[in-house]
């Protein structure tokens, strides 16, 4: 593949908030002393009166966001995925999910590509936690363009939304103006032998893998499944029917994320062999993001290996 521009989706999140904030007066942003890292500082610079730092108190921040939403504001509450989905899980469940309040959670630093901070900050459980809450929308964009479109879609959607963004810069694969729809998967490459269903930074890896596999005569379909919940069941079923083999790829535990969501649909509707690529029920550790991703098998090379032995 040709060299492509790389942008971290957390940067996209901050830019999208600032841009959308200019058009929407009722958009407010909350952070928990991580505005520089989550990039909500980009919004804060332009709209300081609409940015509420809650200090290092994520549980409180989530409930404050819930309260703000009842007054007609549309809050985007931000922290690292570990502390938003993890620490504040029960607050999200009881004070946002159960009353079905219009709060958007923008979680950055998802997955092991957090890198050097190590396991305490590498959240590989957020999809699982958030998927378990009724009516919660759970999404993770593949690149900058999709991340920004996702923020706009989340604002327009009335109800709770969880979005996971990444710390590390990832290749931009979409063209500007890409039409993002919540709950719709995107076929990036057609194929007939195996379908690779990925999200987040694994989408680019899946594209690289598919190109390599083609050289060896394996025709791989690639689907970007940015919305994990509600899952695009129809697309999963159609792709599984066409290819007969499914590989799921995510920067998340193999427990409870995209892989299990795909397996759930297929096992009930169209039993199809599936290989799940993800973090295999273990904690990460410190190191450069690129090295960690390779070490944990979150790479095009590993996808190729799995596809060839499938």
């Amino acid at each position: 593949m040709a060299e492509v521009k790389k942008i971290a989706t957390r940067d996209s999140y901050g830019k999208a908030l600032a841009s959308l904030g200019a058009a929407k007066d009722n958009l407010v942003v909350l952070d928990a002393d991580l505005a520089g890292a989550t990039k909500t500082a980009t919004f804060q610079k332009v709209f300081p009166q609409r940015h509420f730092d809650c200090g290092i108190a994520e549980a409180n921040m989530i409930c404050v966001a819930a309260g703000l939403s009842t007054t007609g504001l549309v809050p985007f509450a931000s922290s690292f995925a570990m502390f938003a989905a993890g620490r504040a899980f029960e607050q999200i469940r009881n004070s946002i999910g159960y009353p079905h309040l219009n709060v958007k959670i923008g979680a950055t630093h998802g997955g092991i590509s957090v890198g050097e901070d190590g396991a305490s900050h590498q959240c590989c459980e957020d999809f699982a936690l958030m998927r378990s809450i009724p009516d919660m929308i759970v999404m993770s964009p593949a690149d900058d363009v999709e991340a920004r479109a996702m923020v706009n879609a989340a604002y327009e959607h009335v109800g709770p939304v969880y979005m996971r963004f990444g710390r590390a810069a990832v290749p931009v694969i979409h063209k500007e103006g890409f039409d993002f729809q919540i709950g719709k998967g995107e076929v990036l490459r057609d194929g007939t032998d195996v379908v690779i269903i990925a999200n987040g930074l694994m989408v680019y890896e899946a594209m690289v893998a598919a190109e390599e596999l083609a050289k060896d005569g394996i025709s791989a379909m690639v689907i970007n499944m940015a919305t994990i919940k509600p899952l695009d069941d129809d697309l999963v079923l159609a792709a599984a029917k066409k290819c007969g083999k499914v590989i799921t790829c995510e920067e998340h535990s193999v427990i409870g994320g995209l892989g299990e969501a795909v397996c759930a649909v297929l096992s009930e509707m169209l039993p199809t062999p599936v290989k799940r690529i993800g973090v295999n029920d273990e904690f990460g550790h410190s190191g450069p993001a690129a090295t960690l991703l390779k070490q944990f098998g979150l790479s095009a090379e590993h996808i190729i290996e799995v596809a060839k032995s499938f």
Partner: protein
Amino acid sequence: MTNTEKNQLQRTACKIRMGIIEATHGAKAGHPGGSLSAADMFTYLYFKEMNVDPSNPKWEDRDRFVLSKGHTAPGLYAALANRGFFPVEDLPTLRHIDSYLQGHPNMNTVPGVDMSTGSLGQGISVAAGMALGLKHQGKTARVYTLLGDGEIQEGQVWEACMLAVHYKLDNFVVIVDNNGLQIDGAVDKVMSPYPIVDKLTAFGFHAEHIDGHNFDQIEAAMEKAKTVKGKPAAIVMKTVKGKNVSFMENNAGWHGKAPNDVEYEQAMNELKTILARLEG
């Protein structure tokens, strides 16, 4: 307030206490003790203090109330029903299958409930968010929240207090029902939250003690709260758990237990006697 007005509030409080007994007896479960201790405050909020409209529960300029100690839903429901948000006759359907009167407050099923609560420590944060949102939008509506004295053992409560002071939420009143008892016993034996007023003051609140069964003191504290600028107000009210039902008073066993038929009769008779005296 005038004696006539006070008498009217006392009568209403008595009817709300009857509603609590009706609801928990009908449910064969629920939390009468902490509902009864806060009944006078529920009465004052919904019949004197708050600007609300039972015919338009979601009116955007209304004052808001968040029952952070959500388990005392029977008290909130009885107040809302008596205020005209829904029929008093529905109270005994509390906790029944398919009833809109869920065991803990549900803002999407119960008219007049401003926030779904039940998980302790969260309501005060949500209420602070409401106050912040209203203030941010230049609205004059006020936000009230009621917490249990056991509830303030939750660390999140103090996160919310920090935020309320930091953002100078002078449209926000935090009320602590200091009935002294929680499920496992006396609050100072289980995990002492004392001194409560000193803690709130140290956080930056205007905080004061009152007798939570004295309408003059409730009124004075609420009126004082309105004059406090640049910081939130806190009212720590000393109350009697199970107030006005003799066998429930000061008894932790009545935290989360419903009266049986015999106990129901006795409780209702005691309350009817009080009401007759007030009407006499």
